[in-house]
Symmetry: C2
Subunit: 158 residues, 2 copies
Amino acid sequence: MSEQDQGLRLFCGYNIKRAFNVIQADVSQTLVPFGLRLVTWSALSVIHGNPGLRQSQLADILSIERPNLVVLLDELERADLINRDRDSADRRAYRLSLTEAGEVLYHEALLAMEAHEDRMTEGLTREDRAALIAMLRRIEANGKTGGETDGNGSLPEA
Amino acid sequence: MSEQDQGLRLFCGYNIKRAFNVIQADVSQTLVPFGLRLVTWSALSVIHGNPGLRQSQLADILSIERPNLVVLLDELERADLINRDRDSADRRAYRLSLTEAGEVLYHEALLAMEAHEDRMTEGLTREDRAALIAMLRRIEANGKTGGETDGNGSLPEA
DNA sequence: ACATAATAGTTATGTCGGATATCTATTTTT
DNA sequence: AAAAATAGATATCCGACATAACTATTATGT
């Protein structure tokens, strides 16, 4: 009894979707003990790496809409994980940073996420993972350049 | 100005999500002329490859819940793309198949989807694509075996 | 055979991620 | 100073996906 979705398995999109579904399920479980979701953890990670950035910058980096980011940050602020400090030079804007508790939680969650990553990529070598990520990024880039027929884009050699 | 999501780019899940987002956007556009969505096209593909299957089987193959499949099939039936024939041996069940119009539309959409796939994977060799899909399937399998510590699962060699 | 359980499909409903329109406050432009 | 742009917030909607419960039919167990 061979596969019943043979026709679909030829498409990257179908496989990507299915792989993401299982990752999403596992990552949700992984983050439950920390009271985080994938998107809130992503926000913590970016704020950790770019303290002082603005909400709109964060929204751009994560490719989420500003209105949705607001409620997400409300959630993180209520949990005392981030600071929203008014920018003294531009009083419309907030500067985002992690609180002490936010830093601690971020690092704890990072360990759990690394274990999660190892679970998900079991059977793949370190080089496999690098190649996988490079190809996914290439696909992401292909999608964003709505079809300029970039004749020779290529991947960094594994 | 290096990347502002460095910490996240190390995770397959983050890259998979972002790659899927651009694929999803492109595939939606690709299927608009056919009045299809990714999930309805997937259903056509599986029915095409397995004529006579039941709704619950289709739901299993596509990993979608039965209630959601019902409305999806209603949509395809209303567009006269599929037949729902009562199984004479089990009058609870329907046997699914494509109509003539469904076959025609499926093949037309297939061509468009293959062009879409080429757009998305521009810059990847045929071997890259095969390796990518193999790794994604490995991840999918890792997720489904909720952690049995399969000591030596490996990938088919590229 | 008949009561019980199981199954196929359906209906109704809830949840969650993501998108748009519009608003206020502030800053920039002219 | 007036008009336009920007940062963030509020309200609202849409689509993907999940669960519970219902009807009709078939399978099971004594």
